[in-house]
């Protein structure tokens, strides 16, 4: 019995790889295993190698695995491209149909299973992926019953017969492999899980669900990978809550429509990736200047330009913080898991209204599309705070002739009361031009200083956001502090576990609030470490620069980057840390 295992299914895009992974993982989730899945896909619809790597465990996990125990291959390319990841004596389950061969130098069990033939016998060649799921089950030792409910959920609407056929395909795949006699087969049987009910979701779904829970009722967006799932979820769900999604003509319209809607008093959002965010920058400045709340999601992917549109990268950090011209108050937060995506989205809407400014939720492709186990979400943690927004029926003093409501009144905390269009005696002007307390254009130097100070003074390092820096620092004096953001949290944590086994003292600080920069919290952690390693999926060390600029201590900071389009593996981070600690550099 083993506690964790890594499984991968690969083939040509459109061949049913995704649903094989979906069915196996949903069954595992319902059995109470912890999961983490990462899809490798290309910017095309049909064809092109694609795979899903799924890690399953009896304990919580937050990263893909370094290696692979079982590879399910629908073509030779899958074997050629992925067999090197296999552990010694790992298993390849390949369709007999393409006469699979083992690449040179790989010691693995190549089991040719008649996926297609069995599927055809059962009734449909497409069900070869179900045969493959069954074949995997034989190795994992999962009960067939674990699949029935999942298959029913998926196929019952097509009739009982379809359910039965799929179950038969799974069963025959399982039986085929069970009957094989294989020497030196490693133990792949999964230990019994705790059987707890948990969720299994991608970050984008968590953001979209979070938006619904937070009361968002309008989304304006333009499709782009890897953000489209947010829009797709809301297209399905918002009508039930009276809301809607507008697919706009471009991201300029997406962001300005979002701003218009927020100005009108609805919680509205937009989501995109780097190219779309580049188009939105001018308007984000308008939101900052007019103190209009709005929530924008940037799902980072490989840049620049079209870059690597379906690949992992974390290279939008500096542009999200600084791309708008002029100086505005802006909040940038970076959730590191699907669970955080949910709760952070709710906080994002609250902070946008509390501070009356744009809030950017920055994810990366691995957070947005990586599918992972999430503990049941808490209804009680959904709290809506609209800050100094006045209700439509607010009893406001009668405005005199040409008098306006002081929408931008100078206050102690810089935040002014906000009336919505439609409110009696709340009329004021809103403009991106520098303006007075009632919103009238003003070029006076005194007013300019007052208003700049007001807007910029609304935010401080402590904006009340949960865990601006997620710290796991068991050592008062650490050899090393590893800093990252977004999806690398679990990978870094896993690397640390290994380093600890080697007797190294390694602390971790994961940055969740990028703007305002949590300088003090980071400084506190950095002081206690001899060295600091900043791990980033980019080439130039953007967070590293921010830390050096804000915190200082440049002499002990090292940057470890990866920009080949893939997420980090735990072993890479482990090795980088060791290099740094042993040789003083990497």
């Amino acid at each position: 019995m083993i506690k964790q295992l890594s499984w991968k299914v690969g083939g040509q895009q459109g061949e049913g790889i995704d649903s094989a992974g979906e069915i196996l993982s949903t069954a595992l989730n319902r059995q109470g295993y912890h999961l983490y899945a990462y899809r490798h896909f290309s910017s095309r619809i049909k064809g092109g190698h694609s795979n899903t790597k799924l890690r399953m465990s009896t304990d919580p996990i937050g990263s893909i695995a370094d290696d692979l125990d079982i590879l399910v291959a629908f073509d030779q390319e899958t074997i050629d491209l992925n067999a090197h990841e296999l552990i010694k004596n790992g298993v390849i389950l390949a369709d007999e149909k393409f006469d699979p061969t083992l690449p040179e130098g790989i010691t693995a069990h190549l089991l040719a299973v008649p996926f297609t033939k069995i599927a055809e016998e059962v009734g449909m060649a497409q069900m070869k992926n179900m045969v493959a799921v069954g074949a995997s089950t034989a190795l994992l030792g999962l009960p067939l019953a674990a699949f029935r409910e999942v298959i029913e959920g998926r196929f019952l609407k097509k009739g009982q017969k379809v359910v039965d056929k799929n179950m038969e395909a799974i069963e025959r795949g399982r039986d085929y492999v069970k009957e094989l006699t294989i020497d030196d087969l490693p133990d792949f049987e999964l230990a019994v899980s705790d059987g707890q009910k948990r969720l299994y979701m991608i970050g984008n779904d968590a953001i979209a669900f979070g938006a619904v829970a937070a009361g968002a009722r309008l989304m304006a967006a333009y499709p782009i990978t890897p953000s489209s799932e947010i829009m797709e979820y809301l297209i399905r769900k918002l009508p039930e809550f009276g809301g809607t999604v507008v697919q706009t003509e471009d991201e300029l319209a997406a962001i300005t429509m979002t701003i218009g809607a927020n100005y009108g008093g609805v919680r509205a959002l937009t989501a995109s990736a780097g190219p779309g965010l580049s188009l939105m920058t001018e308007a984000i400045g308008l939101a900052g200047m007019t103190e209009t709340p709005c929530v924008i999601v940037d799902t980072q992917r490989g840049g620049p330009s079209t870059g690597l549109p379906t690949k992992q990268e974390q290279s939008d950090v500096l542009s999200m913080l600084y791309s708008t011209h002029g100086e505005i108050p802006k909040i940038v937060i970076a959730p590191s898991s699907a669970e955080e995506c949910f709760y952070d989205t709710i906080e994002a809407f609250n902070m946008a209204e509390k501070y009356q400014c744009p809030v950017i939720i920055l994810t990366d492709l691995a957070v947005s599309l990586g599918k992972q186990t999430v503990d049941p979400l808490s209804y009680d943690r959904v709290q809506i705070d609209r800050g100094k927004l006045l209700p439509f029926d607010a009893d406001l003093p009668q405005l005199g002739d040409s008098e306006l409501f002081p929408r931008y009144e100078l206050t102690e905390d810089g935040i002014s009361r906000r009336t919505l269009p439609g409110t009696k005696n709340g009329i004021h002007h809103v403009t991106g031009v520098e303006h007075s307390e009632t919103g009238r254009p003003s070029e006076s130097a005194e007013n300019r200083i007052n208003m700049m100070d007001k807007r910029l003074g609304k935010l401080s390092q402590d904006i009340g956001y949960t865990n601006p820096v997620a710290v796991d620092a068991p050592h008062e004096e650490a050899d090393l502090l590893v800093i990252g953001f977004n999806s690398t949290k679990g990978t870094i944590a896993e690397a640390r576990e290994r380093l600890e086994l080697d007797g190294l003292k390694v602390n971790q600080a994961h940055v969740r609030q990028l703007m305002p920069f949590p300088t003090d919290l980071l400084a506190e952690q950095m002081k206690n470490a001899k060295k600091v390693l900043v791990v980033e999926n980019n080439a130039t060390g953007q967070l590293t620069s921010l830390i050096k600029m804000n915190v200082g201590m440049a002499e002990k900071i090292e940057f470890y980057g990866k920009y080949d389009g893939n997420p980090f593996y735990p072993a890479e981070i482990t090795n980088a840390c060791k290099e740094l600690l042993v040789h003083g550099n990497i």
Binding site: F209, A253, N262, Y263, G264, V266
Partner: protein, 288 residues
């Protein structure tokens, strides 16, 4: 009941004396009062340009945004609060150059927004460059040899997109201008109102006098039927676009808001943000 005076504020427009935009402002204020609106029921979203300043000169809610984006802001606002009367406004550069993409899609989408363009065939605010409405050969700072590009015809474009309400007017004809805006406000769906609003400082060709000599009031055309799109198109072509009045109206086309499934009459902004625990659990169960 509010009168047009209630839509005035004491802000002195920074337009040049004689600028056509003054009349557009006056006509808008009259039209709001004439259709029975109160100041707080109106929001004007304007672009950037001399004309874009208009939202600051009306006693109503107003948002002066970024260049070319008045329309998406206005549509977002209308979707947020259906009870509001939303007007978008700006210059010919704002709507037909930098914002042209939004103009086309606002027509397609048909959210109930009244769009008033102050068309002076030039960029006023940036001191006299060519606009997509400048005629070929038109000399400006940016086209010293005369523009070699062809002017755009926004009304023909709108008709080709099957816009629900297409009208044109002229700053000198306050009565017609007011009437056209009133009808635009009453129209359910997107309405495009292009107003010849002369720039007295930078456009020495398309002057008040020039328009008076060249434009044709549709009322004077016998048998003109503004429910007939083909006739509207033909009339525009015959007169090189220089006609005023309501060119075309399709009262049957429902606005975008009315076609959204489950979209409530009561504005989104007035609804409760909270979802029930039962709804929450149901949404969560989909991920189990």
């Amino acid at each position: 009941m509010a009168t047009f005076k209630d839509f005035r504020n004491k802000v002195k427009p920074n337009w040049c004396p004689g600028c056509g935009d003054f009349s557009v402002l006056a006509a808008m204020q009259r039209a709001f009062a004439n259709v029975g609106l109160e100041p707080e029921e109106v929001a004007i979203v304007s672009g950037i340009g001399c004309s874009g300043r208009i939202s600051g000169y009306v006693n109503a809610y107003g948002l002066h945004g970024v260049h070319g984006r008045a329309l998406p802001i206005a549509q977002g606002l209308k979707l947020a609060n259906r009870d509001l009367t939303v007007v978008a406004s700006g210059g010919d550069g704002d709507g037909f150059a930098i914002g042209m993409g939004h103009t086309v899609h606002a027509i397609r989408r048909n959210v109930d927004v009244t769009y008033v363009v102050m068309d002076n065939q030039i960029y006023g605010l940036t001191k006299g460059q060519t606009s997509p409405r400048s005629a070929q050969g038109f000399q400006t700072k940016s086209t010293p040899q005369g523009s070699i590009e062809q002017a755009i015809s926004p009304l023909e474009l709108a008709l080709s997109l099957n816009a629900g309400f297409v009208a044109q007017s002229f700053s000198s004809d306050l009565k017609q201008l007011t009437h056209v805006i009133e009808e635009g406000l009453k129209h359910k769906g997107f309405s495009l109102i292009n107003v010849y609003s002369p720039c007295v400082t930078y456009n020495k060709i398309n002057t008040y006098e020039w328009f008076k000599q060249n434009i044709v009031n549709l009322d004077t055309l016998e048998g003109y039927d503004n429910a007939n799109r083909a006739q509207a198109m033909q009339t525009l072509m015959e007169h090189d676009g220089l006609v005023t009045g309501i060119l075309y109206q399709n009262k049957e086309r429902p606005p975008y808001e009315a076609m959204i499934k489950g979209f409530k009459e009561e504005g989104l902004a007035k609804q409760d943000l909270n979802i029930s625990e039962e709804q929450f659990d149901r949404l969560m169960a989909e991920f189990a």
